[in-house]
Symmetry: C2
Subunit: 471 residues, 2 copies
C-alpha cells in the first residue's frame, strides 16, 4: 500500500490523486490544499464575472465531497512548508497555525504558479511581495478563488464604473468581455504591438477589432510602469512610443502572465529549468527520490521545442495524470505539448497550435508561413463564415510546424485547431493534411475541409517559393 501525498489542489494535483486512486485503489492518497477550493476551474473564472456561471461553487470540476468519495483525503487550508527528502516527510501548517509532519512513500508536488507583476511599481503585493497596492485599493489579479471573491466584493461594494486591464492575453481578453458585460468602461493596455501576442499580429488585429467593436478601448505598445492611488481610484502610468501617458480608473486588473511557484521544491534541492520552473523529466520525476512534480510549477516538454515553460491547464491535467500513475509504480511518460491554445473573445474564437514562424526559426527549423482564408462550411448553405489561417511548415520537407486560426464562434475552430494538433503530434506533413479523411456535410464543412484548403494554399505558396516563380 502506497502512502501518496499530493501538494496542490488544482488541475495537476487532483489529476495525480485521481489517477493514482484509479490505478491503485489500495493507495492512501492525501491532497494538501492551500485554500478551501480544491479542483476549481480557474479557466472558468472570467465566466463567473460575465454572470454566465453562477453560483461560484459550480466552477468546481468536482466537489470536495466527490473528491473524497473517490478515495482521497483532503487537507484544506493547509500550507506545505518544507520537504524532508531523506526522511520522506512533508511539513505543513494549517489555517490555525498548527504545524505537523506528514509521512509519505511518494510525493507529488503541484504548487502551480502565481501572478507575475511585470516589475510594475506599486504592484509588488500581487506577486507575493510585501509592498504595493491590493484589492482594497482596487488593484486585482485573478488567479485563485480568493482573488475571485475579492474582485466580486469590490465590484459589488464599490460599484466601479471604469476598469483598466493591464495585459491582453487569454485571461485579459476574457475579463475585458466580463467587465463589459458588467457595464464597466474598459481600457486594455498591451505592452506589445498587438493584443493576443501568442498569435501573429495579422490575426491579433482581428481580435483587436472585436474588442473595439464591443466598446473596449485598446491601447497597444503601452508598457505600464507604475500604479498609484489617486483620489478617484488608481492611476496607471505607461510608457509608449508617444511618451509617458497616465490614465485613471476605479479598478485595475493585472493580467500579465504567471511565474512558477517553486519555493517548496527549490528548498528541498530540486533543480530549476526553463522559465525558472522546476526541472522534471518526461516521467515527471524531479530527480529527488520519491518526489514527482507536475503543473504550472514545472517545465513543459514540447514535441517540437524540447523543454520550455508553457503553463496551461490541459498540460497540467496530463502531467498530473502521468505523475500520479508513476507515483503508484507506473511507467507513464508525458508525451509532450504542442502548445495548443484557444480563446473566445466576444463572438470571435482565436486558436493556435505548434510554432509560429519566428519561434520555428529560432528552434532551427526552416519555416514558411502562409496566410489564407477558407469558409467554415459550403458558402451556399446559410451562415458560412470565413476562417483566417496562418500555417507554418518547413520548406524542404513540408513538415507541419504550426497553425493559427481566427474566426467566428460557431465555426468549429476549437476542434479544427485540434485536427492540426493531432497532425503535429503525429509529425505529419502539410501534404498529409490533404490526405486526411475528414468529415463533410454542407452545413458543417466542405469536401476539402477548411484546414485542408489552408494546407493546399501553403503547398502552392511553397511551390512558388521553391521554383522562384513570381506568383
Amino acid at each position: 500500500m502506497t502512502r501518496l501525498l499530493v501538494v496542490g489542489g488544482s488541475d495537476a494535483g487532483i489529476s495525480a490523486a485521481l489517477r493514482a486512486r484509479e490505478l491503485d485503489p489500495s493507495a492512501e492518497v492525501t491532497v494538501v490544499v492551500a485554500d478551501a477550493y480544491p479542483n476549481f476551474s480557474i479557466c472558468g473564472i472570467p465566466y463567473y464575472f460575465t454572470g454566465e456561471v453562477q453560483p461560484w461553487q459550480s466552477l468546481a470540476h468536482r466537489s470536495a465531497a466527490e473528491l473524497e468519495a473517490s478515495g482521497m483525503d483532503l487537507r484544506l487550508d493547509t500550507l506545505a512548508t518544507a520537504i524532508d527528502v531523506e526522511r520522506r516527510r512533508l511539513a505543513v501548517r494549517d489555517a490555525r497555525g498548527r504545524s505537523e509532519e506528514l509521512r509519505y512513500d511518494e510525493l507529488v508536488v503541484a504548487t502551480g504558479a502565481m501572478p507575475a507583476d511585470a516589475g510594475i511599481a506599486g504592484a509588488g503585493a500581487q506577486g507575493g511581495g510585501d509592498e504595493g497596492l491590493g484589492p482594497e485599493d482596487g488593484l486585482h489579479v485573478i488567479h485563485s478563488m480568493g482573488d475571485t471573491f475579492a474582485l466580486e466584493r469590490f465590484l459589488a461594494e464599490r460599484r466601479p464604473e471604469s476598469a483598466i486591464i493591464v495585459g491582453a492575453g487569454y485571461v485579459g481578453l476574457e475579463m475585458a468581455e466580463a467587465f463589459r458585460a458588467r457595464g464597466l468602461r474598459v481600457a486594455q493596455l498591451q505592452r506589445g504591438p498587438e493584443v493576443l501576442s501568442t498569435l501573429d499580429p495579422e490575426l491579433g488585429a482581428l481580435v483587436h477589432a472585436e474588442l473595439v467593436a464591443h466598446g473596449v478601448e485598446v491601447v497597444v505598445n503601452s508598457t505600464v510602469t507604475a500604479i498609484e492611488r489617486t483620489d478617484g481610484g488608481l492611476a496607471v502610468t505607461a510608457q509608449g512610443p508617444g511618451g509617458i501617458s497616465r490614465r485613471t480608473a476605479q479598478l485595475v486588473l493585472l493580467v500579465v502572465g504567471v511565474r512558477p511557484s517553486t519555493a517548496l521544491l527549490r528548498q528541498a534541492g530540486a533543480a530549476l529549468g526553463a522559465g525558472g520552473a522546476v526541472a522534471v523529466d518526461e516521467r515527471m520525476a524531479t530527480g529527488l527520490p520519491h518526489v514527482w512534480a507536475a503543473g504550472d510549477g514545472v517545465v513543459t516538454h514540447h514535441r517540437l521545442l524540447g523543454t520550455g515553460y508553457l503553463p496551461l491547464g490541459t498540460t497540467a491535467h496530463k502531467q498530473g495524470r502521468v505523475a500520479g500513475e508513476n507515483a503508484v509504480g507506473g511507467t507513464a511518460r508525458f508525451a509532450g505539448s504542442v502548445g495548443t491554445q484557444v480563446v473566445k473573445v466576444f463572438d470571435l474564437v482565436a486558436a493556435r497550435t505548434g510554432l509560429r514562424d519566428a519561434e520555428a526559426r529560432a528552434a532551427g527549423f526552416r519555416p514558411l508561413t502562409v496566410a489564407s482564408t477558407a469558409d467554415d462550411h459550403k458558402r451556399y448553405y446559410p451562415g458560412a463564415q470565413p476562417i483566417r489561417f496562418r500555417l507554418t511548415a518547413q520548406l524542404h520537407d513540408r513538415r507541419l510546424l504550426g497553425a493559427q486560426l481566427v474566426g467566428r464562434r460557431g465555426s468549429e475552430l476549437a476542434k479544427r485547431i485540434d485536427v492540426f494538433a493531432a497532425a503535429l503530434h503525429a509529425g505529419m506533413s502539410v501534404a498529409q493534411l490533404s490526405e486526411l479523411d475528414l468529415s463533410y456535410t454542407p452545413p458543417l464543412g466542405s469536401p476539402w475541409d477548411a484546414v485542408q484548403l489552408a494546407a493546399q494554399q501553403w503547398e502552392r505558396a511553397a511551390a512558388d517559393e521553391t521554383s522562384g516563380a513570381p506568383d
Copy 2:
C-alpha cells in the same frame, strides 16, 4: 504538352482536371460532362429543397465560366460512349445525337454512380432500366440536377401533401427534413432495424427520435417490395415482421443507395473489384494503358480494410486529385479512406469514422466497443450538451479502430470526428488520444476534451475486460 480528357463533371472529374491544370499549366484539358451542370454539389441538393439554398445555381462549387477560366474546356451535354484504348480515342455523342472521336494522351474516367433500385418492383426506371414508374408518376430519385429539377417541378405543380421516403441513410434523412420544411407529411421506411444503419442502432435510435420529434413517421424493419400507381398517387408495399403493409402517398422518394456506373470502362476491358466498381490501384490506374479512374465508379482503398466500395464526395475529390496529378506525370498515391461521414438531421449531428465492432471483427481485428457520454464543453458554462460516443479499438494493442458520435448541432461534432479520423490515419492507440494536446477554453471544451474522456472510458472498460473484473 499532355492532352488530357476527363469523363465526368462531378467531384472526381473536376478535381482531376483542376489538379492537372495546377501542376501542368501547359496541359490541354477537356472535360466531357453528360449534363449541363458541371461541378455541382450533389450533397447540397437537400438544402435546395429545404429552401435554405437558393437559387439552384448556387449549388455549383464553381460556375462553368470559372472552370473554363482555370483553363479547362467543357463539353457539356455530351455522353462518352466508348473508349478505344489502343488508339487512345474517346467516342462521344452530344445532345443533338452527333458522334465524334476525341483523341487523348491520358484519360481520366469519373462516371460516378447511379441510384440503386433495391430490386423494388415498379422502380426499375430509376436504376436505368426501361420499365417502371418515373417522376411524372411521383416516383423520384435525387442524384443529379435533372432529378432535382424534376422533383422541384413535381412539388410546385402537383403540390403533394404526403411523401414516403424509402431509405433512411444520409440523403434520406436530409430529405425527410426538407419535406417537413416544405410542409409535407413524411413517412420514412427503413429496411433495417434502425435508421442510419451506418451507425450502431443505439445511436441510430437517437436520430430516430429526432425524426419523430420533427413529425416524421418512421417505420423500421420495413422492406419495400413494390411501388404502384393508385388513384391518389403511389402505393408502396412493404414486408415487415408483422406481415405485408401498404401505404400511399402522392410522392415517393427512393434513396436506397447507389451502384457504380462502370459500363464505359467495363466495355473497354477494365477489371471490376469490390462492389462491382472499377478496380484501380492507389495511383488510380485502371490497368488499361493511359486510363485512370476516380470517384463513385471505382473501388476505395480503406486504410483499415484494404479495398472496398465506399462512394463519398470527400473520397471522390481526393481520388480525382490523385488521378489528375498522375495523368500529367505525377507519382501521387491515394492515401486511403477511413470511412469518415457526418450528417445533420434537424438539430442533431451524427458522425462516424473507421470501423464498427462487427466490421472490425469481420476484418480480423479483435475489437472492443465502449459507449460513453461526455459534455461538449464545461458543464458550468451555459449551453453544454452531451455527446454520445461509441469507441471501437483493438483489445490487445489498444489500436483505435473507429468512433461514432451523436450530439446536438453546435457541439463541434464534425470536427471532433475529424480528430478521430486524424488519429486513425496516423494509426494511434486509444491511449495516444489522451496524449493529444487538444485545445481548451470553458465555452468550447474541457481540459480533457470529450474525445479524450471517451478514450479514457474505453481504457477503463478494456482494463476491466482484461482483468475479468466484474465492474
